[in-house]
Symmetry: C2
């Protein structure tokens, strides 16, 4: 019998602040920011964007804008002054971004991507919208996976955790992965409670309330609808591109 | 109609590492370390201990031991060399500790108590074993409550979160408290999934596995049995004493 401990792990980290406590170095990190950065990134690739350069600060986004890139910046759910786009998935469904490279800075998601890239061999983008495509690919890799939830300003958030729990659940159910962290077990339980009705389950989540106040109900609905796309954005150097799957 | 925002809050913080992100200053903090520090503290008061001095470091526990106090120290589930007791609840059910003051240092729980005391007006001890007594008292206070899970070395853990979720659930169900943090909502969901079978729910938790390896099954069973005592330990100065309820 194969040694159970030889199976690759799939773990869930609730926020960038908790990230240093998890095993290092990492093999594959899945960065998740369901409302809305990683959902927007998936939508952008689905609609033909060429590449996305995730930057942590607004200044970096402005620099790239000055260099001629399309640039997007969001803070606290709103588009930052001087930028055309924020992180609404619908911003990236137009001819305007097709075939282009976009610099993107968001409150939580792009920061998490840049934290992840320092210690992982591979960084990919996860959202509910690319869930099945992503998990199918991860299962084939047979490598250690850490799901890094972007959270909200270093705090735990429900929607990222549920997405991470869905990934952990799918990988674990193959029997070829193991989870040892309590955060991973909790994420799976939360996903199992939420899966039949993401919208209802998340109705009291803090970020959903925040976006609702900003009249972003259509965005929320889009971001909480699973499996709308097959794209898997992957980080190559400083930019996200489309993973070419075999 | 009463302003809903005037209701006191009940929130859950998953670990000491996340604590600085929560509203400050705090009114009442409930420190929770189900396996096993706060369960042991409740058992100690139930069995007549006079006071417990929670100290963060083993050196402080040794100093107090040198001053003639009974002293207990635990690290990674085991009694530290040179100490008579660790944090097994059964250590405090003997004549040896009755009427005495005990200095106590544990891996997670006593550290959380000392973090809490800096910013809260009132620090009380919560465990599954004093759950109903504690929630009844908290409901009467009508003050803001933060449940601080001790976690495991700054990480999230399941058993503390479930206990915190039980407290949040009880307070919220009166209609007189509000929760706004996603961590609090998640803790309640996890408690609702766990409440009919704590033992089964936690069978894969990391700390339960850790204690099982140390042959501490009886301790686990004790710590996961709710409502064994009416005691509410409360911090007064440098020591925990028994709250005199009206």
């Amino acid at each position: 019998m194969e040694d159970q401990n030889e199976r690759p792990y799939v773990e869930v980290c609730f926020s960038p602040r908790q990230f240093p406590l998890y095993k290092d170095p990492h093999d594959i990190i899945v960065v998740i920011d369901v409302l809305r950065a990683t959902s927007a990134i998936c939508a952008a690739f689905e609609h033909g964007v060429e590449a996305i350069i995730p930057v942590s600060s607004i200044e970096e986004a402005r620099d790239l804008q000055d260099q001629g890139y399309l640039a997007a910046a969001e803070r606290n759910g709103e588009i930052v002054d001087g930028f055309e786009f924020g992180n609404s998935p619908f911003s990236y469904m137009t001819e305007r971004t097709k075939g282009k490279t976009v610099a993107l800075s968001t409150t939580n998601g792009t920061r998490a991507i840049n934290i992840a890239k320092v210690s992982a061999k591979t960084v990919v983008i996860g959202a509910l919208s690319n869930l099945d495509a992503l998990t199918d690919w991860l299962i084939k890799q047979e490598r250690n996976v850490l799901c890094l939830c972007s959270g909200w300003k270093d705090k735990f958030n429900l929607e990222d955790t549920i997405c991470a729990g869905a990934i952990a659940d799918a990988l674990m159910s193959t029997g070829n992965f193991q989870s040892t962290e309590d955060s991973s077990i909790a994420a799976k339980y939360l996903y199992q409670s939420a899966r039949d009705n993401y919208f209802g389950f998340l109705k009291s989540s803090s970020h959903r309330r925040r976006l609702k106040k900003l009249n972003l109900n259509e965005d929320i609905k889009f971001c909480l609808t699973p499996n709308q796309t097959q794209v898997i954005p992957i980080l190559k150097g400083d930019r996200l591109t489309l993973l070419n799957q075999e």
